[in-house]
Amino acid sequence: MAIEIAPRRPGPQVTTHSRDALVATAVTKHFRTDNKTRRAVDDVSLRVGRGEIYGLLGANGSGKSTLIRVFSTLLIPDAGDVRVFDRDVQADELAVKRLINRVSVEASFFKKLSAIENLVYAGRLYGVAPDEAKRKALAILRRLGVDVERVNEPLEKLSRGMQQKVAIARAFLTAPMLLLLDEPTTGLDIRSKREVQTFIRDLRIEHDATIVLTTHDLDEAERLSDRIGILHEGRLVAEGTTDELRARYGAAALEDVFMTATGKRLDEADEPERAK
């Protein structure tokens, strides 16, 4: 069953002729904590074409989530600018918000409300009528292998994997033109991980959804992305298709590309004193 990912109401806010879904130019973001300044994102420029799946690969603390938050209007960058389908995320915030949605590592729901209550609420915020929201949500959840008998239970009773699938349904049901998936499979068991990955890949085939996906899983990056950007200590140190990257670095596997580009192995590159 196909899932409508196309714009739900053709209107001025979604009819765009831009061929680029996302253009980030020289984005920099610092954080100050306890009088220490830390550069989370350092002069990142990237361009994601319409219909493309762009994988941001990086260790923990490399700035992936910060970048995603900048793209999704949750953080204002110190420098640089971001355009989503040719609209500036700062100046045209509301229009950009209508075009995007995001799935984060934490599922972020009203824990006592059921999956359906959460989804209907989320739909309403994007102008999706409750009936339509329910219908779409159930269709997506079924495809993700969720037992739809459980959609009326409080969300806190569902497993982490199921919650993450509900989070994915929440993002899809608003038919975003640009979908930001921030480590959508981190912390999931192997089976859920595969189900989520298959779902993303199928969408890729069925629709021209544009997706920016972050991961610290080499295999996932390679499996899902059309192009990969490697993020290291806030900097975009390499970018290209897997083949391009391998050729450029004379490497046999993406793992070796990562090594050469960052000087570290992915599992060693995690920020040491990461608080959470």
């Binding site: 999704s72 949750l74 509301l94 995007i100 972020s108 729901f109 609420y121 989320a122 102008g127």
Partner: protein
Amino acid sequence: MISALNGQIGLAYAFVEREIALSKRYWAWEIVWLVYGIVTSLSVAYIGLAAPAISGGQVDEAAVSHFVLYLLVGTIAWRFLGIIFENIGEVIAWERWEGTIEYTFMSPVPRLTHLLGMCGATLVRSVTFSIAILAAVALFVPVDLSKANALSAVVLLAVGALAFIGLGIASASFPLMWTEKGLQMAYIVQAVVLLVSGVYYPVEVLPGWMQLLATISPATYVIRGMRAALMDGADLATLWPEIWPALIVGVLSIPLGLRLFIAVERYAKRTGRLKRSG
């Protein structure tokens, strides 16, 4: 234009529906707050009834029932205003705790619509609670509202609600600015307002500096006006001196509170305080 307005009402309604669903799921807590509210009001009413015994003097029956009503109007009107202030003030803190704040802030809902939706939900709650408390108290204590001017009371509560919505919106931004202690600050503000606004006594008994604070608290006017409306049947013309100061607070604090909130939201997005603490 009309359809745009309809759209915004639909968006605002999402928050009302959500809050009602949450109340149902957290029903045990709602019961707690309700019981607290009833018990507080009832205790205060009994203090009134016991006035002759406590003071040891001669207090005639009419004076006692006047005193009881005086206390009850104060406690229930305060509860009404307090719920509004607390609920609106907790808009950020609550969603931080639930972990949903980023999703609310990422959604294509103008901040004004979001906050108006939350105000709608709050009003449903504060009206329900106040009526329930009044009804429960009336079961135990004679409440003589024979002279009450209902229209005056409703107008005063509406004006009070406006003022407290504005103050609530302003203090809702505290937790965005100070992630650790913002909410506590809002509660302290509320406690001080309770002390100086003459909820249980005429403000004239307070020291001069507190009376000064009383003049800037909208609750002072609303509660004094409520007493005049419910106990003496004062009409709107008579109550005008109590209405306009609270109205001014409302008319100023809502747009100012909203501006503050939006400015602080930007600040939070620049400093990364929306979700993370520290």
